[in-house]
């Protein structure tokens, strides 16, 4: 009951404040942080009571009060709030790395590799093939020749292979899930993230050859990505070692130190083209697997992670482009359907090949539906690189991400409960 009263009260205060404030200044952003934290969490708790993930509540608050529905938050305010993104991704990645156990990964390596490879290639092939087949019905592909359609279809294929590691990790954290099923889904999520970066580089390289005649610096692209991957792992190793040194000394305010390191690196790494997710996954992995301090680290991160999760997903919800969804909902819905089929079939094939346990065969595909930052980032890159059709492509991808980000957490919660790994279900 108090969640409902609280949600209503904060929403009312938000209504009175956001519509009275004449412009988006710093105080409005301060207010918006508090508003999203409180309302997001309260709606999350309300939805949890009707068996939906709390995370859906955070996202729904962002959608409801964001620029496209009630318009409490303007685009400008949302843009300012997105400064939290990198910090949130760092926290999420550090948690994920800390959850990966080397001996478990070795034990499950067959399943992990099989599902990751079959799923990535299978999804890519199915989505590329079906988008290619549907090309005559897709407005911006109608005028293109076959080879160009294939180029766009391949980009669709690779962008839709991506998933949201942050959503997976946040759901595991929300439900306090532990067990083989969780380990495997998490392992695949992280492995896939690395593979997708490399795979995207290759597809992007080919698409540029198809669409762009001028000689761009694409020959350097693979080198840059190679450097990005290895640079990120190396940086992750160094940060992991730093964290170990700090944790061992048992210095007070360690949680603040860790948050500070996360903030510092998350702002600095993109400037030198390093991948935040990979850096912190590696750092968490090192602390977990090479010292007995992993549990301690996870406990520290967990103490402040709720605030970051709520704000991150509420801002992600507010950033979901509902106009794009309105414009392309039919096409988006068809592609979402295709993607669902692709995820299900390829994951099943991978798990059958690896003779994975029953729960993995039946439910693991549900852990790979949600999409957010990675997909969005790639779509923006495509838009910038291919000015002709890139904007239409991005609009369609945004609509697909909007649907996947709402459906994904609900399905994954169901999967975690069904697999028996979820502990915090009431």
């Amino acid at each position: 009951m108090f969640e409902f009263i609280g949600f209503f009260f904060i929403s009312l205060v938000g209504y009175l404040t956001f519509f009275s404030a004449r412009f988006s200044n710093g105080s409005l952003v301060t207010f918006a942080v508090g508003f999203l934290l409180l309302d997001g969490y309260l709606l999350g708790r309300l939805l949890f009571k009707i068996k939906l993930p709390k995370l859906t509540g955070y996202i729904v608050v962002g959608i409801l009060f964001g620029p496209y529905v009630f318009g409490f938050l303007t685009h400008q305010t949302v843009e300012k709030l997105r400064m939290i993104d990198d910090l949130a991704l760092s926290v999420i990645a550090l948690s994920a790395g800390g959850e990966l156990r080397l001996n478990q990964l070795k034990e499950d390596s067959k399943v992990l590799i099989s599902i990751t490879v079959v799923q990535t290639l299978g999804m890519f092939a199915i989505i590329t093939g079906l988008v290619y087949a549907l090309a005559p019905a897709i407005g911006f592909l109608k005028e293109m020749n076959a080879i160009r359609i294939l180029g766009v279809a391949m980009i669709f294929g690779i962008v839709l292979v991506t998933k949201s590691p942050s959503t997976t990790i946040a759901m595991i954290s929300e439900l306090k899930a532990k067990g083989k099923f969780t380990e495997i889904v998490l392992g695949i999520t992280i492995l896939k993230d690395v593979i997708v970066i490399l795979f995207f580089a290759l597809i992007f390289f080919l698409s540029k050859k198809i669409f762009l005649t001028d000689n761009l610096a694409e020959n350097n692209l693979l080198l840059v990505l190679f450097t990005e991957l290895f640079g990120s792992f190396l940086a992750g190793g160094v940060i992991g070692w730093l964290l170990i040194v700090y944790l061992k000394r048992n210095i007070p305010y360690v949680s603040l130190f860790i948050l500070g390191v996360l903030f510092f690196v998350s702002k600095f790494a993109p400037l030198i083209h390093l991948n935040i997710l990979l850096i912190f996954i590696m750092a968490g992995f090192i602390v977990e697997n090479f010292t007995p301090l992993g549990t301690h680290l996870l406990r520290i991160v967990d103490r402040s992670s709720l605030i970051i999760y709520v704000l991150f997903f509420a801002v992600a919800g507010a950033s979901l482009n509902l106009i794009a969804l309105k414009e392309t909902w039919l096409l988006a819905l068809i592609i979402v359907g295709i993607r669902l089929f692709a995820v299900w079939s390829s994951t099943l094939a991978g798990s059958v090949l690896a003779k994975a346990q029953d729960s993995i065969r039946k439910y693991s595909w549900m852990g790979f539906i949600s999409q957010a930052g990675v997909g969005l980032g790639l779509a923006i890159l495509v838009e910038r690189t291919f000015p002709g059709w890139g904007a239409d492509f991005k609009t369609t991808i945004l609509a697909i991400i909007a649907i996947n980000q709402i459906v994904g957490p609900v399905l994954f919660k169901y999967a975690l409960i069904k697999s028996g790994d979820a502990r915090a279900i009431s």
Binding site: G6, F9, V13, T30, V33, Y41, L256, G260, K267
Partner: protein, 395 residues
């Protein structure tokens, strides 16, 4: 780009500032001087518009959520211990002392500067005199903490001094908040009313929410969420977030079943937030070096007079105590001269309210910083005299 640089610097100072400052102090052989936090003010000045010009007006506008939150946090922290039930158990004599010392300083600084601004320094409005008076009420416990950290046993005098210092801090925030409401003469009732409504409803909201919050991170979310919300709202309504959250703190202290857990949540961030407040105090300086000559002299005069009037006010309080109870409290009065975080926070808060021109704010920043530098050794001198018998060899 500058905003990222500013955030980097803030993060780096907060992360690595404490060990670096500690190392520097030990190298300079000044580790026993009570200027630990002051070093961070200098670091802030280095990156301010006076120094490397990293914290430009635009950057400050963008980090307003951090500033607003830190002010709100401090207001909340100061009053979270203001539990009336505990106050009732305190000796009324100590409360009376605290009121007399604070009241004496308030009146002396207020009346003194009204005369000074009306005769010598005419560029300052009369309201500035009462702002200074409000700022003079606050006392800082930092020096006392530093002095008694090696004491194994807390004597009566130490307890009394701690209590009066804490009460001084609470009174300081409340008086400052009330005065800022009155500075806008045509809307003082609106400002005061809004501050009370936001502060009280935020406190009641926290009380309601924390009942169902079992986990630490839920408590953290509710407490920090409400500080962000009320600080943002205060900023939009041009009222002090420091004051609003101080009211919230009083409500929680007196009505929450989980008061101690809320206090623990606030205390967790103490080191970080204090460093942040000190750095921001320095970073907010916007004096160009070429204008320093014009500012330096009046600021030094104001700072020194502020210190003297404040001391005189406290002596006046002691004098009244001597008349009524016969007790000699002159050394106790001098021990209360130290001012740091609350004073700095109040000045940051006042600058953020935009109620005064840059001309006045720049002079006030420098003047009060000077007064803090003068007050610290003076307070230490009096404190050593007051606690002479209690101190062991290592002080």
């Amino acid at each position: 780009m500058k905003i990222f640089l500013a955030l980097f610097i803030l993060a780096a100072i907060v992360l690595f500032g404490a060990p670096v400052v500690k190392f520097t102090r030990s190298k300079l052989g000044i580790e026993k001087t009570p200027f630990y936090g002051i070093m961070f003010v200098f670091i802030g000045i280095l990156f301010s518009q006076t120094g490397l010009n990293i914290f430009t007006d635009d950057v400050l506008l963008q980090i307003l959520p951090i500033i607003g939150f830190s002010l709100g946090w401090l207001g909340f922290l100061i009053t979270i211990d203001f539990d009336v039930r505990l106050i009732k158990k305190i000796d009324t004599r100590d409360i009376a002392y605290s009121l007399l010392f604070s009241g004496g300083a308030f009146l002396a600084v207020g009346i003194g500067f009204t005369l000074i601004f009306g005769t010598f320094l005419r560029g300052f409005p009369q309201s500035t005199a009462w702002l200074l008076a409000a700022l003079s009420v606050a006392t800082s416990p930092i020096l006392l903490r530093l002095m008694i950290r090696k004491e194994r046993k807390r004597s009566f005098k130490i307890e009394q001094l701690s209590l009066i210092t804490v009460l001084g801090g609470i009174l300081g925030v409340l008086v400052y908040g009330i005065i800022t409401c009155f500075l806008e003469q045509h809307a003082w009732w609106r400002n005061l009313g809004l501050a009370l409504v936001i502060g009280i409803s935020s406190g009641l909201f926290i009380n309601m929410m924390v009942i169902g919050a079992r986990k630490h991170n839920e408590m953290l979310l509710f407490v920090y969420g409400i500080i962000f919300l009320s600080s943002g709202l205060s900023g939009l309504l041009k009222i002090s977030p420091l004051f609003v959250n101080a009211i919230t703190g009083i409500v929680v202290a007196n009505s929450s079943l989980k008061r101690s857990r809320v206090a623990a949540i606030l205390n967790e961030a103490e080191q970080l937030m204090m460093v942040l407040i000190y750095v921001l105090f320095g970073a907010l300086w916007s004096v160009r070096l070429e204008n320093m000559k014009q500012i330096l002299l009046p600021a030094l005069i104001i700072g020194f007079i502020y210190f003297l009037l404040r001391y005189f006010g406290k002596l006046f309080g002691s004098f009244l105590i001597k008349i009524f109870s016969g007790e000699n409290t002159f050394a106790l009065a001098g021990s209360l001269l130290c001012q740091t975080s609350v004073l700095f926070a109040a000045l940051i808060d006042f600058r953020m309210l935009g109620a005064s021109s840059a001309f006045i704010m720049n002079r006030l920043f420098l003047a009060l910083f000077v007064s803090v530098l003068v007050a610290m050794p003076a307070a230490r001198y009096f404190m050593e005299a007051y606690l002479k018998k209690d101190f062991q060899r290592n002080v």
